[in-house]
Point group: C2
Chain length 710, copies 2
Amino acid sequence: MKKIITCLLSMAIAGNLMAQDVKPVVANLNKVKLEFKLDPEGKPVYAVYFDGKPVITNAALGFELVNDSAFSKHLELSNVEKADFDESWKPVWGEVSTIRNHYQQLTVHLRQKETPKRLINIVFRVFEDGVGFRYEFPKQPGLKYFVVAKELTQFNLTGDHKAFWIPGDYDTNEYQYTTSKLSQVDGWAVSEKATDIAVRVVPDQHAVATPLMLKSDNGLYINIHEAALVNYPAMQLHVNTHNFQLSASLVPDALGNKAYLHAPFNTPWRTIIVSDQAAAILNSKMILNLNEPSVIKNTEWIKPMKFVGVWWEMQTGKSTWSFANSLDTADAAGNLIANGTHGANTENVKRYIDFAAKNGIEGVLVEGWNTGWEDWFGNWKENIFDFTTPYPDFDVKGIAEYAKAKGVKMIMHNETSGSATTYERYLDTAFRYMNKYGYPAVKTGYVGKIIPRGEHHDGQWMVNHYERVAQKAADHQVMIDSHESNRPTGLHRTYPNWLASEAGRGNEYNAFSMGSAPDHETILPFTRLMGGPMDYTPGIFKLKGYAAGASDRQVHTTLAKQLALYVTLYSPLQMAADLPENYEAHLDAFQFIKEVPADWDDTKVIEAEPGDYITIARKAKGSANWFIGSITDENARTAKIPLSFLDKGKKYAVKVYSDAADADWEKNPEAYVIKEYKATSATVLKINIAKGGGAAITIQPLNNLRNVFH
Amino acid sequence: MKKIITCLLSMAIAGNLMAQDVKPVVANLNKVKLEFKLDPEGKPVYAVYFDGKPVITNAALGFELVNDSAFSKHLELSNVEKADFDESWKPVWGEVSTIRNHYQQLTVHLRQKETPKRLINIVFRVFEDGVGFRYEFPKQPGLKYFVVAKELTQFNLTGDHKAFWIPGDYDTNEYQYTTSKLSQVDGWAVSEKATDIAVRVVPDQHAVATPLMLKSDNGLYINIHEAALVNYPAMQLHVNTHNFQLSASLVPDALGNKAYLHAPFNTPWRTIIVSDQAAAILNSKMILNLNEPSVIKNTEWIKPMKFVGVWWEMQTGKSTWSFANSLDTADAAGNLIANGTHGANTENVKRYIDFAAKNGIEGVLVEGWNTGWEDWFGNWKENIFDFTTPYPDFDVKGIAEYAKAKGVKMIMHNETSGSATTYERYLDTAFRYMNKYGYPAVKTGYVGKIIPRGEHHDGQWMVNHYERVAQKAADHQVMIDSHESNRPTGLHRTYPNWLASEAGRGNEYNAFSMGSAPDHETILPFTRLMGGPMDYTPGIFKLKGYAAGASDRQVHTTLAKQLALYVTLYSPLQMAADLPENYEAHLDAFQFIKEVPADWDDTKVIEAEPGDYITIARKAKGSANWFIGSITDENARTAKIPLSFLDKGKKYAVKVYSDAADADWEKNPEAYVIKEYKATSATVLKINIAKGGGAAITIQPLNNLRNVFH
């Protein structure tokens, strides 16, 4: 199904747009309308409406270039094109097996009135759930290489909306979300308190990161982000706390420049997803649709998976990444002195491999396997890790053979300590090493200040770096799970081997800091996850008393909610993050993790409200089985789940893992009950969810039980 | 011969130094004396004397750190050590076969009086031709990782000396030298006019580069530079044009920081070479002696050589580096359209190989062999070159086989266009490629602004980059000839595979610009060459009418002077830079280039005056043959060359290639005469040298003629 209709408006109409009182050019689809015009000074502006309600009004567009600060003034409209587009495509993996890409496209061709008469086009795509637009710098005599000083794009809102936001930090997205009115945005106040984040760079007190989730007083849900961030810095939003105008703020390079470009060039898409239903925000595929198709031709080797790892034990202080306590001491032979707490030792790794093999978990991640961890953090230095030298107690060859014999996939870990220069220096060698030892995936990490010094995690140079790593990984048929990288923008459509990113506040904060509030996971799908999957590392069963030296620390959910997260927080890479012994203490609950898949044919958002609750049902890839996750914030509630998505007339077995009656994230988090029912598509489940709680549900056709569950 | 005597001064003496009127601590050797003391504020100062005359007076020492701006105030002397050292060592290649390293060492141990009582040592080495000193940050609790904000080192001169200087540019050393009084130093005036240098960054109007050559009114020759520049930025000198105090000025990084360090750390050596004889400056081995011995254990594969190259024809506009004229046009099949002027085509390369083989020239350099040259320069972009993709008309395998069969060594060319990030990304691959095709050497290039953007050619990050490349080259047994890198500091002792650098204004400026004045080559040995060999590319025979589209352009020397440069400008890599056809037109003169070696057992500086003239005799490695080069500036002169260095009682055949009577660099540069004589050690040659002229001389024992010359 593919249909394009192009209608070229006449130049006469285009010419009319120069007059002050002219009607704007319009594109629309269903309830969404986009208006574009040039203002009396010849500056481009746009507006967005949903169901007749203004969403974005009189918002500027354009650029200042380093060598042309007036680039976007005194423009004239030389042509307008309009086209309708409707097709469907199949992602390599995802929440659904087929994605419809349906929009009306409006392209405005702009030209400077005066010499050098530079050209810029703006392409709008109006979907039924919002608007995406990008700038295109065509090949032209007057503009070849150029440097962006400022992107002028605005998103001017109509009121003091409720916002779910984190500060506009150049180097991290790992803040807790603040829920406040736009007028109350204060990134400095938040950043100052966020002492559990090591590197915090928030130059603008009133800048917020995207995806930014908003809710208007008149019931609109609005999400602002970007799609296809390639060769360009991440966009943050400066909030005018008085008039609620938001302006693009690009993360600069070491010199304060924003982007070094070469025409022809297309910017990332700026995305405005809007609906009067919160669920529609979570269902939106606009960001994926605005990304380019896969550049990887053979994708057979790309497989979603669950994994366990030698990791939580370090996060909680039970063992260490490092082999020795210091680089400064050595034994008589000049070797490091083992500290006896090194987690990535061969015996311990084999224990995780055994556990994975026994429970049908596909992968095992091992951190701290390679030399460098004695002095790796916080000193902004290069050449800490070489990515190919294991510690003496990590038998890389023996472990590879052991895992292979057990049918378990090893996941490589490449922590760069922020020195991207070092990683690039070793990239060829590092990926050859993974191939040699049969690692099909790598978790990358960028903890600390970036080198090249002066660059930021979210600037153009690093955005290009992450893409280079994804490309190099694809060349070596390796899947990527990037941590501390820029937040995703749907680029996993183009690089389906880039399965997931952290790039947000994961479960780990409950291990090494005071953690995240109970509403955290109800906000993430509306914010961080809008751009792509997150390696959140759910599945913690021991929710108190796990942190060495911090007995008061606890995870801010119930155990049942940890199960629900495998459904509500979509990712093709899902960790079972807790220790094998903690799973073995609750094998009945662990059964859900064993069964829940990491790839889906279909997804239904049953109910959702950002900051409050989310219930999602998903149908397993190539299966008739459904899985439901339902979570709440700090308030208890009853989830009502109509099973109307099930096949009519069929009977199903339903298994509900939910909070016990006396469960409570704070006082009694590990109390859960498991119940089994029979159901049909007419059934409506009513499940009591505790404060900070959740429920996880498996549904399978009754005639099909034995074949599917293992 | 190795002798060390250590005498520990008592703490009582050290304590005395705190008083204002205390005698300084002294070290000396022959005519050179060094004094050190703490001033009344506890700041370290030093002075240097030669034969009782003050050279440097009351000059500050020390640092400001980013986190300790008062690091060098309120210091106290905790210990003083003194030792004598005398040994000899043999370089892998060089101007002499044995080098004596003879000095008295004074180490002052300093400590902050107040908490955190940080430690810093200053180590002075007093040689008979000057003083070197460095700072040592010992391992200590109060200082682990630190950032240098400013190095306070001064070199306070006693008067308004005559100086041979180039501006303190962060990115280039390719200026013509200005000869002026210190009071007249104005880097901006020079930089503004130097339009033949593409990237010029001179933030300080009164900064000059090192090596800085000075001559005082009272007859002292003084050279200030540094030795063993490792993991630190290059030092420039800020000139106070009123009181002639010079201060260290370190090239900053993108953020304005100077150096990121980790104790224990030793800075480069600051060097002050001084004599009342100009020749002693050229004879000094202090800078080499202050470098560490070779880190390469097996040096058998490192061989000095002469080479020709597909290069001057591009410099002069006869052919092009690029295969096509534009990346924007393609033929029907999508391939680049050949411009028909591509120099590095297989047939032309084989012509150079034939010429080299026929004339006993060891190597052939080929530039423009790899894709990327259509749009490589001036746009500050990455990923132009991948260092392993030849143009379609360059048969890399066929050429490698052809050269091997002819006994000729191919020299790889890796131009980075300033993008060090790109080069590091491909470094492993690039060197494997050289090994695969049997290239024993590589010419690297860094034309343009550096990436990482904001870094400079001469900053710490790039200094580390050049060393990484040298190390990687050594790992692959490849020799390095680096262009547009930082000027050398004797590091070729430590990395003897790093044969030469450009890092100065080479002969190429006579090809693509209006060139260099006739005194240029009389200044270079006193400045640029003090730190190490230069790939100057001498040997141009066609001195007028060579530049396409610039018929008035000419080289500013005579032909005989081009021959002399092979001796006066020492390098283990010497290019015969002109086209084969221009050599074939003067085969009698070319005979000298065929015979002159690139490695020596001994060197005698016969006469020298910076900016005026230089005459040097050198004895070929493993041979009884001597070679002499004598050059002048724009003034004609008569060189008087006593052959007293020859063995007494032996007879020698002498062949003199000199300017014809009517030769003149400007009007008649290609007029030369070749004469033969017999001589003994009692002979004094008197040779007329034209304006801008020179003479080249071969001397061989009479009983030995046939065996040596070929």
